[in-house]
Amino acid sequence: MSDTLTEQKPVKPPKQKRPASLWSDALYDLRRSKVFIIAAVLIAILVVMSIIPGLFSPVNAFDSSTCDLTIARQGVSSAHWFGTDNLGCDTYSRVIYGARISIMVGVFSTLATTLIGGLLGLLAGFYGRWTDTVLSRLAEVFFAVPSTLGALLILAVVGRDNAGIWTVVLALSVLAWPMVLRIMRAAVMSSKSQDYVVAARALGAGPGRIMQRHILPNAVAPVIVVATMNMGVFIAAEAALSFLGVGIQSPDISWGLMIADARNRFLQAPEALLFPALFLSITVLAFVMLGDAVRDAFDPKLR
């Protein structure tokens, strides 16, 4: 009996009564994580920006009468904080107004791929056998399509008349979920064979409980990492599709579209490209940091 913990731990005596669980401990951890707070503040600002852009910019960028061709491709000035673009529109207000579409495409494509790929990957990895065969082969069919070509095709067919944010989200999600499925499936398969899963089965736990309590918490980390990285990839892919003329179209504003427009005149007016790119980077960084913090909070060994 002598190996009970006898040494006194000086710190952390208070909340002994609090029944801890992975979730409550993770939330407690997140609230004290600097990385999480910085990421959360950045994301909150970006979300507010995309909902009420007028709060940040006095100029309505959707109103083309605010553009003035005579002041096209100007540098940074007190009137135009981020300079002006090829058509003489204010880059600052366009960056603010462009947040909505870029963030929506990023967030919704990530949500869709993570939910679909994660769920199917969990089922394929857990049940194995023919469930795995069917789902994995199905995923490989989508995997085999080159993503740019496939997205072009989907947008050309589905989005010919109504190209917009939802068709872009659809095109990106349909082609990207198999990657999440593969990662989830592999992670589930490796945690499925662990002894604690066998112990839970011996206790009489059903498949639902085993997946929810034992497999998911131990398999979700790589998916979180991939999902947060995908966020940036999707925003960039939306830019690529818009550049190719099948994604978001003017007069809608997205960061990708702005970067694509400013590319050709980069040497004359670098601001028109640099500022949307900067916002894009900050957004992606914020989501990657968020994913990092969440992943760490759900790993008790890092506490």
């Binding site: 913990l5 992975l22 089965r201 011996a202 008790p300």
Partner: protein, 338 residues
């Protein structure tokens, strides 16, 4: 502890064959690994049955069959005289309350993302009738105390404990449903020798306190001797000899048991050089294609023609007082303890 009354666990002709298949799409069976091939024994209330044998002899598969984690190819397991039916949910649930297990490796048998309170409390969430919701936390703390851990550590995670403490957590989880039988699948082989003794003593104390019956699977013969009332020796999926611990250790009658016992390290250097060592030739045959007749005949120094033709039954032989599956069973004290 003297066995009393009806056996709590009765195993009859338990068989588990794992199919060997060939082909990817059209799988066809080309053979079977005969992991457990006709095992029968009884376990009495409050008794410890040790199961020993070398790696790959089917000990762990036997444990999985007893826990209903694998479906037996044939044979039955009876608990309290009732046959365990894998297809009837209520029957199976009742059965699981009565038989629990302690696993080998305390580093992998506890979910790293659950607190100790959640791990030990999970049995109550599955079998909600055992403890009302408000009582569960108290019960978990009681269990922690029973296995010698600090009840205040209920909110900690497994990685904050040492190997021995983790094994105690595993034992507490097994005790939560107040089972009558606990299957210990090599519960101390992953632990330090000093910690092994503590865990063994804990298991013995719990047995006295709660009247538990143990199936104690191990390959450490000294540990098995210390804790067991009866011992079964397995070779290639079959029990070759079964009897009281003194019968097996002092009067082994099966050549395989004798060889196994002669390999036990002797701590006393006096006479260590001169004692008899039986060194078996070759490796155990493949369980996919076991030898005809007696499975041990390929490595046995007593093997004769009859061994290849007729399978020796597990029964009391002339000159022995316990069951032995050898045509030429003969008591031979290899250890020299008596």
């Amino acid at each position: 502890m003297a066995p009393q009354g009806d056996p709590i666990l009765e195993v009859r002709d338990l068989v588990k064959h794992f199919p060997l298949t060939q082909g990817i799409v059209l799988k066809r069976q080309v053979g079977a690994i005969k992991a457990v091939d006709g095992v029968s024994f009884e376990l009495n209330r409050g008794e410890t049955l040790g199961v020993v044998g070398e790696s790959g002899c089917g000990k762990s598969t036997l444990a999985k069959l007893l826990m209903a984690l694998e479906k037996p190819t044939s044979g039955t397991v009876k608990v309290n005289g009732e046959v365990v039916d894998l297809h009837k949910g209520s029957n199976l649930k009742r059965f699981r309350r009565n038989i629990q297990m302690v696993m080998q490796d305390p580093y992998t048998s506890l979910n790293p993302r659950m607190t100790v309170g959640d791990i030990i409390g999970e049995p109550y969430e599955i079998h909600t009738e055992v403890a009302p919701k408000g009582d569960r936390r108290k019960k978990v703390q009681d269990l922690l105390e029973v296995v010698g851990l600090n009840p205040d550590h209920i909110n900690r995670y497994p990685h904050q404990f040492s190997g021995g403490q983790r094994q105690r957590i595993g034992i507490a989880r097994g005790l939560a449903l107040q089972p009558e039988i606990i299957v210990c699948d090599e519960p101390v082989s992953a632990l330090d020798v000093s910690i092994q003794a503590q865990v063994i003593n804990l298991l013995e104390r719990l047995q006295n306190e709660f009247g538990l019956a143990y199936i104690f699977i191990a390959h450490d013969l000294s540990v098995v001797r210390h804790i067991s009332d009866r011992v079964a020796v397995m070779y290639l999926g079959k029990i070759v000899e079964i009897g009281k611990d003194t019968e097996i250790y002092d009067k082994p009658s099966h050549p395989y048991t004798q060889a196994l016992l002669s390999a036990v390290p002797v701590p006393n250097p006096e006479g260590r050089e001169t004692r008899e060592r039986i060194i078996l030739q070759g490796d155990p045959p493949s369980p996919a294609n076991p030898p005809s007749g007696c499975r041990f005949r390929t490595r046995c120094w007593k093997a004769q023609e009859i061994c290849a033709v007729e399978e020796p039954l597990l029964q009391i032989r002339p000159g022995t007082d316990h069951e032995s599956a050898c045509h030429f069973a003969e008591v031979h004290d290899v250890v020299g303890a008596s």
